[in-house]
């Protein structure tokens, strides 16, 4: 394997996928990190109508900055870990539905393998996974590795 696509946004299930990537990728492998910002964030002002436009704009900018900083921190951390494993790290951020973004990203380059994590099991705290695996299995032309959720 020379070119691996890793989809991760830093949740517990995705972290398991990252560990698996470091484990199976040989030195010098190109590790392309895909981060998807789900479209659900666009609806996060909900049905607010009482606020002035300025407050909503401020909120949107704040939320964008917050998500941006979280992604940057996550990417930086992954970059350090990838370097430690002597992998060639690159990153890409897309906005959309996770499965659609992953399918599109897989077509942009010739990957040998795609690695993703599992959704969190019921009872575990965290945001609800927006990744639909059924369209993935129908559309992907690259082998897909879904790493099981880590046992405690």
């Amino acid at each position: 394997m020379k070119n691996v696509l890793l989809a991760s946004h830093g949740t517990e299930g995705a972290r398991a996928a990252e560990r698996m990537a470091f484990e199976i990728c040989e030195k010098g492998t190109k590790l392309h990190h895909l981060v998807v910002v789900p479209t659900l964030w666009q609806g996060m002002t909900g049905d607010d109508w009482l606020n002035n436009g300025g407050i909503r704009d401020k909120f949107r900018r704040y939320l964008e900055d917050e998500i941006g900083q979280e992604i940057e921190a996550h990417c930086d951390k992954l970059n350090v870990e990838a370097n430690a494993h002597e992998l060639n790290y690159s990153k890409e951020i897309r906005v959309g539905e996770p499965d659609e973004c992953l399918i599109e990203a897989s077509r942009d380059s010739e990957f040998d393998l795609i690695i993703i994590g599992s959704p969190r099991p019921k009872g575990k705290t965290g945001l609800r996974s927006r990744m639909h695996t059924k369209p993935l299995t129908k559309s992907l032309t690259v082998p897909l590795l879904i790493v099981p959720f880590p046992n405690e």
Partner: protein, 522 residues
């Protein structure tokens, strides 16, 4: 970027509106109107005017958008909102004129439910407001809002704000004073109580201060609006915002359906229901929705609920400031909180419009200052044919011996002598006489006609009432299109637990308080 889409959608919407008007005007809908209620179908005047005017506007602008050339600029952005706004309006029209009466006809055909004496649609609050919001929610979540309509959907907020501003014309000074006093007491107690309770529960369950801060604003003040205003101040994390907004939307939508059902089962008056919804429902949009769902054919409940909403939003800057200070102290960030900046930024400008319209209304510009619900007393405008006739005076004279109370006797004498009601006080006293059923049925009929002769409807106020109804219907359909299941699905974690406890306690306790202390009418 050019926002206006070269798209036939607006033109098609206009054609549909004109088709509705044409079919109604040509009598092609007569059979269907008979099925929907016949002479009891009350939307005919709207059906014969609104789709004609709005349809013509949509066709003209639609043609220009479809075939014209568009350039970047302010006008392009405003123009891009027209298609979405007309899309919302068309849905509101279809729901109000056809779907709502259809559901009512179906429900009436099933008879009344048990001992309640009410039909299913009344008990469930299934009316054009609720169905309009549901239509909006279905569109965004099942089909998604079309690209050409997205900018227009955002305009729905303007509809609600304009509705509140116009609502200012319908309050009397006494109403505003009494409702304002009641709302300050209720909102003050329950806002502070639920903010405090959320912070306390949050501390006990070891949630981060940022999450406690944003959640307490949402739970305590006005739902999503408070969350949006407060999140940057307490530096809430993205996941905390998603949890909080998901929880509030889920609660709000559930309350919007459940509150009117309970209100009808408890036979609550508009004042009591408006006070309860205005206090107990977390999210401000759903307060308006529940008020109109409870009383779709009148706006008395909405008037009460909106005073509570306005009180909430006026309290919002104070709560944001409190939480900002609380957060800075707890986190020891060393950041300075500027009181004036917070108040200036968070002050809801549209409330000034409401106050301005109320002030204008008080000067008598829209209706005489003594009007109540758009009706006012004026005995100088009594038409000659409405004056008491000789035989009517004779009948009242013959029955005056039955009247014992001096004030009623005096008012009746003045009516007989002048042939019309002579003052507001006389009018009130004679209304009391009618209600007391002291005189015969025929005499009561004459008294009722004498009352009608001196009571006039202010045309401007009547028009405002119609506009307000439409502005809220329009706004709520649009807000429905901004409630995504994806957001609601994010409800979870500690905010869902704490929100559930606080939301339930607020709804139940405010119901008890309203039933115990709020009178049936103002």
């Amino acid at each position: 970027m050019v926002y206006t889409k070269k798209n036939p959608a607006l033109f098609i919407i206009g054609v549909v509106m004109l088709a509705i008007w044409f079919m109604a005007d040509a009598g092609m809908l007569s059979g269907y109107i008979d099925h929907l209620g016949g002479k009891h179908y009350k939307h005919m005047p709207e059906l014969l005017s609104m789709p004609k005017y709005f349809g013509a506007i949509a066709v003209l602008i639609g043609l220009w958008q479809w075939f014209g050339s568009h350039k970047e600029g302010h006008w392009d952005y405003y123009s891009s909102t027209v298609a979405g706004a007309m899309f919302i309006l068309l849905i509101a029209m279809l729901v109000r004129w056809f779907i709502d009466p259809e559901v009512a006809a179906l429900s009436k055909s099933m008879g009344t439910i048990g001992q309640t004496g009410k039909h299913l649609h009344t008990i469930l609050g299934l009316n054009y407001v609720v169905m309009g919001i549901v239509a909006g929610i279905v569109i965004v979540n099942v089909f998604s809002v079309p690209e050409w309509a997205k900018n227009g959907v955002r305009v729905s907020r303007l509809g609600l704000k304009t509705g509140v501003i116009l609502l200012g014309t319908l309050y009397s000074a006494a109403e505003l004073k009494n409702l304002g006093g009641l709302s300050i007491v209720m909102i003050g107690f329950f806002v502070l109580g639920s903010v405090g309770m959320t912070l306390w529960l949050g501390a006990r369950r070891n949630i981060p201060n940022s999450m406690g801060g944003v959640l307490s604003a949402g739970m305590g003040v006005c739902g999503v609006s408070a969350t949006v205003a407060c999140a940057p101040v307490v530096q809430a994390k993205s996941v905390e915002i998603a949890y909080t907004i998901g929880t509030i939307l889920l609660w709000g939508v559930a309350c919007m359906f459940i509150f009117p059902i309970i209100g009808h089962l408890l036979d609550m008056t508009p004042l009591k229901f408006g006070a309860w919804a205005g206090t107990g429902i977390l999210n401000s949009a759903q307060v308006a929705g529940a008020a109109l769902a409870f009383q779709p054919d009148g706006i008395e409940t909405l008037k009460v609920a909106e005073i509570f909403n306005i009180t909430r939003v006026l309290i919002l800057p104070i709560i944001v400031m409190w939480l900002a200070v609380w957060y800075v102290k707890r986190e020891q960030t060393g950041t300075k909180v500027s009181v004036s900046q917070v108040i200036f930024e968070k002050f809801p400008v549209f409330v000034l419009g409401f106050i301005l319209m109320f002030a204008l209304s008080s000067t008598g510009i829209f209706a005489p200052a003594n009007h109540y619900k758009g009706k006012y007393f004026d005995n100088n405008k009594v038409k000659p044919e409405k004056m008491l006739k000789a035989e009517e005076k004779a009948l009242l004279q013959a029955e005056s011996a039955k009247v014992q109370r001096n004030d009623r006797k005096a008012a009746l004498d003045r009516l007989i002598a002048n042939g019309k009601v002579m003052s507001i006080d006389d009018d009130d006293v004679l209304r009391g006489l009618v209600n007391a059923k002291v005189v015969s049925k025929d005499a009561n009929h004459i008294l009722k006609n004498a009352h009608k002769a001196v009571r006039h409807t202010a045309k401007k106020v009547k028009a405002f009432r119609n506009w307000i109804t439409w502005l809220f219907a329009f706004g709520l359909v649009g807000l429905g299109m901004q409630i995504t299941v994806a957001s609601m699905k994010q409800a979870g974690g500690q905010p869902a637990v704490i929100g559930g406890i606080v939301g339930f306690a607020k709804a139940v306790l405010s119901l008890i308080v309203v039933l115990l202390i709020v009178k049936d009418t103002i």
